[in-house]
Every structure is written in C-alpha cells, then in structure tokens.
Amino acid sequence: MATPADITRIEVEDFLFLEAEMLDEWRLKEWLALFTLDASYYVPATDLTPEASPATSLFYIADDRSRLESRVERLLKRTAHSEYPRSKTRHLVTNVRIRERGADSIFVSAAFAVYRTKDAVTDLYVGSNRYRMVFEDGALKIREKRCILDLDGLKPQGRISILL
C-alpha cells in the first residue's frame, strides 16, 4: 500500500487521469468521492498570487466541502441553465510533479488544459492545478484542489460553469 514516502509519480498520474475521465464523463458524484470530507476547491481571481486566501481576497470559486457538494448537485439539474444541455469537456493533464512529501500528505502540481464546447463554441481553460492529497484507508484523496489559471480573466470564456 502506497504511503506519502513511497508513492510514485505514475500512481499519482493514474489518479489524476481517473479524475479527468470522471469529469469528462460527468460522473460527478464519483468525482466528489475523490475528495476528503474536509476538502476545499479553489479558483483564485487571475490578478491574485497563487497563495492568496479566499477569506481576504475575491476568488472565482472558493468551495468548502458543503458548497462543493452543492455545486455538483446543481450541475446535475436541468435548471443549471449554463450547463443544460451539457457542454462537452476534455481535461488534459500533464507535467505532473510530486513537489513535497509530508508525514501524512503529498503536494502535487500538474498543468492542465480543459476544453469546453457548447453551442459550437470551444473555450480553453489553461493553468496549473495544485493538490494537497492525503491517504485515507490506503486510498489517495484530495484535501485541497487549487486551480491557478494562466489567463488574464475569463476572456472570452465568460464563466467557470464546469469543474476544472
């Protein structure tokens, strides 16, 4: 069983590729199960530093576990108009690096490119995902996912109605 000390980059990549597959197939409840019960999901505004705090700065998204659950619930409704009919997405994950190994967690960075297509318009979201991951009952789980966009605002994407 893997531990923070000996987990390999390939094992982490497999986990991130599975996460991407779940998102692209809209298996959102399964995706939610990849997160710990105290997890956070953050997308800072693009004029903030990557380490900014959502308690003192305006983000695009700053979900605790409860809001993240509500976000998933919302996205599965027909009344989530921005994503009904659903868009097509493709999450590409690359440049995966284990940056730190702690006693009970690892810190991982991965470059991402997410394509979203709806009504014949394709938008690209590009940036770096920073994960704090822990081991729960031998399984890797996400405690924090922070998406740092390499963009100047959401121009022309206009929204982050999908999960990055």
């Binding site: 003192t56 305006l58 921005s82 959401l154 206009g158 929204r159």
Partner: protein, 427 residues
C-alpha cells in the same frame, strides 16, 4: 450615420402601457458607433475606488471606454487620472497592472514623469530648447474630466459635461447609502473578477437590475438557499423599482438572504447574531431608525447610467463593462466592504458573494447563459424585431420585479443616442 436607424429604436405606447425596444439596438454596428460617440464619450464613467490606491505613489492601470488610463496617487496624496500614452511618441508609459512608484518612465526613449503626469526629464535634454515644455504639452495628459464622489472616482471624456453630482442625480443618495455602511471608509477587496460575455453590453445593464428573472433563471441558487440549513431569514421578497433620473435606476427590496450589513441568518450563529445586530444598531444610532433599517435590511441593485452596477445584496459588488463588438462585452467586477468589518464578517461576505455572484458562482453563470441566448435569439430580428419591457408600466409605484428600471435606462439611452455631438454645447 443613418439618422433614420437611430430614431425607431424604442416604441412607447402610453395609452396601452406598452414599451418596446428594437432588437437591432443589440446587434447593429452603427448603433455601437453611435453609443461610442454619444454615450461613452460623453457620460461620466467609473474609473475606480480611492481605496484601491491608498498610499502615495500607488497606481493602477485600467481601460475605460477603450482608453488605457493610469489612476495614481501623488506624493501629497492627491488622485489623478492620466491618459496612458507617452506625449513623446505614444507608447503606453505604465505597463504594470498596479504598483507603487516614485515616477513613471516610458521605456521606449526614457522620458520620466511624476505621478501627476508632469514631465520630470528626458535623455538628451540639451538637444531641446530651454522652454521645451513651457505649455505642458510634454506632460502626460490628464483625462478631460475627473471627479470623485464618496471615494468613487469617475472620468468623462466630454470637457463640457455637467458636474458629477449633477450627473448622478438621484443615484448619489444610493452611493451615500453604501458609503455610510462604514465609519472610516469602504474598501475594494483584493481580487478582480474579469470576464467576457458574448452578448451586447446593454443586456447586462438590464440583467443586473432585473428583479423578475430570479425565480426561473436562478432556480438552482434558490434551491441551494432553501436546502442549506439556516441560510434564510424569514423575510419574503418585496420592494420597489425607481427611476433615479438621467438614466439611473434602482430596485430596492427586502430579500431573505443574509446581509453582512446587516441582516442576520441562523447559519451565522449566536456570535454572528451579536455582531450583525451591533452593526444594525450602530447604523440606527448614526442615522435614525428609519434610515438605519433601510441601509441594513434593504437590498439594492443600482444602475448608474450607462454601465456602472452596484449591487448591495448578500454582499456588495461593483461591476462595469464595455462593448468590444455589438455581440461581445468585457466585464470587470469587484467586492467592496467596510474597511473596519471583522475578519469573520469579511470571510462570510466573500463566501456569500461567491455563492451567487461572479462567473464561478451558483447564479451568474446562468445570467451569462441567458444573455448569450438572447443574443442568439436576436438573429431572428428581421421577423421578430422587438423586445418588451412593459411590466408594471400602468402602476403608480412599480414593484421590484417590474421593469421600470429598464425603461429608465432605455428612455435616457434613446434621448442621448439622438443628440448629435455638435448640439451638445461642448467647447
């Protein structure tokens, strides 16, 4: 300019209480050109908030009506709005988004300017006449008009524009209501939400002050509020829409969501209750019960014509937007808060903001979708040429979910768009 095309832009039938807006107004290139000349080049436009550049030497750069502007504070603390172009050969002098500097240097040939735009020096000075800058024409130019109301800084590119308070008309009172929420000054919280919407800019003006669309467009947000325990006060939606003059308008209403200034919801707990009630009580002490209640308990969606929105709802957002094409707008939005509020209140304010507002919230993405769907629907305009904004037109006091706000905007828009530049009295 085809004069004919600017005339049949709205149709008002007061006998039947009908108000129609031509969909062409959202689509036609010549309408956008008329708006640039007769609205954006003449009205007072929001530049920024004094709290964004608090220290001497602070500056930020921003685009207002297509012009790159430097908003700066000089060594004596005075605020300036400069055209961000070198008087020498045109390059943008300041290229950072924001910062603090003793002077600005154009990197092209090295001309240097003070924070108020005055030329400090240029390499090879001996090659110029001694009185080279006698008339100040080698200084960075200020915007033609620059005024501040309660820390909200506005510019106008029309030298002959009326004063800012005169322009603000009935909207000034609503800036007071916001500014009075702090005893030491409101502050823009760090972080800008910037996004583009593939829709005409006027659709966002309408949408931002529309009390009618929430039940269907924001069904999932309302589900969320109802679903989470303690997220709602026992307050039904009720209120009014008002025409504030000069195209400005507001909806002012009670709503069940929590307000950091100052309507408590059970989710915030007993400690939160003490804090929120303290804020409310202090407002009543400062302004009397009636006005104190109004500031604390009412929500307000305010439009300052043509494109400044200040929505004082479950948090406060300041939002402005410009067309880059008839079917594309560029939006910037900020959060504003009393600078003295507690860490707890600031955190809940920002979380409440994000639950509803902004391109990653539970509501704004559906507004973006609605606006883009309108723009697509307008492709039918030859056969289906008119929008309807008649709701509540026959009422003496229109409700918050009527459409008087849109009519106030469009009537002013129509008057301005039909006022050519040469009759504006500009010197």
């Amino acid at each position: 300019m085809a004069g004919q095309s600017l005339q049949d832009t709205i149709r008002v039938d007061t006998a039947r209480n009908l108000y129609k807006v031509a969909r062409r107004n959202f689509v036609a290139q010549e309408i956008l050109e008329a708006e640039r000349e007769r609205i954006f080049d003449r009205c007072w436009l929001y530049l920024g908030h004094a709290s964004e550049i608090p220290q001497p030497g602070d500056f930020l750069t921003r685009v207002v009506a297509g012009r790159p502007i430097v908003f700066s504070r000089d060594k004596d603390g005075a605020l300036h709005a400069l055209l961000n172009t070198c008087p020498h050969r045109g390059a943008q002098v300041v290229r950072e988004r924001q910062g603090n500097a003793k002077s600005f240097q154009c990197f092209y040939h090295g001309w240097t300017f003070a924070q108020d735009g005055k030329l400090r020096g240029q390499p090879g000075k001996e090659s110029y006449d001694a009185d080279f800058n006698r008339d100040g024409d080698a200084d960075m130019l200020p915007v033609p008009r620059f005024e501040i109301y309660r820390d909200f800084a506005f510019v106008s590119f029309d030298r002959g524009a009326s004063s800012l308070p005169e322009y603000l008309a009935g909207a000034a009172e609503y800036l007071d209501i916001l500014a009075d929420q702090s005893e030491v000054g409101m502050v823009i919280v760090g972080g800008t939400q910037e996004y583009a919407i593939r829709a005409n800019w006027k659709l966002l003006t309408e949408n931002s002050i529309d009390g009618y669309h929430a039940a269907t467009t924001h069904a999932t947000y309302l589900d969320y509020l109802k679903g989470a325990a303690g997220n709602l006060a026992k307050v039904p939606f009720s209120g009014v829409g008002r025409d504030l003059g000069n195209g400005h308008a507001v909806v002012e209403y009670r709503a069940p969501w929590g307000r950091p200034v100052a309507q408590w919801i059970p989710l915030w707990g007993e400690d939160g209750k003490r804090e929120i009630e303290g804020i409310h009580a202090r407002l009543c002490e400062r302004f009397g019960k009636e006005r104190g209640d109004r500031i604390a308990l009412n929500s307000r969606n305010l439009l300052i014509f043509p494109n400044l929105i200040i929505n004082d709802v479950m948090a406060v957002t300041v939002r402005t937007f410009y067309p880059s094409a008839p079917d594309m707008m560029q939006v910037s939005a900020w959060a504003i808060a009393p600078s003295e509020e507690s860490d707890w209140a600031r955190k809940y304010r920002l979380f409440s903001f994000l639950e509803f507002l902004g391109p990653g919230g539970f509501a704004t993405p559906d507004d973006v979708e609605a606006l883009e769907q309108c723009q697509r629907g307008f492709q039918n305009l030859r056969e289906a040429p008119w929008n309807d904004i008649s709701k509540g037109m026959g009422r003496e006091q229109p409700s918050f979910d009527d459409e008087i706000q849109m009519r106030a905007f469009w009537s002013s828009w129509h008057a301005r768009i039909n006022t050519p530049a040469d009759t504006s009295g500009e010197g």
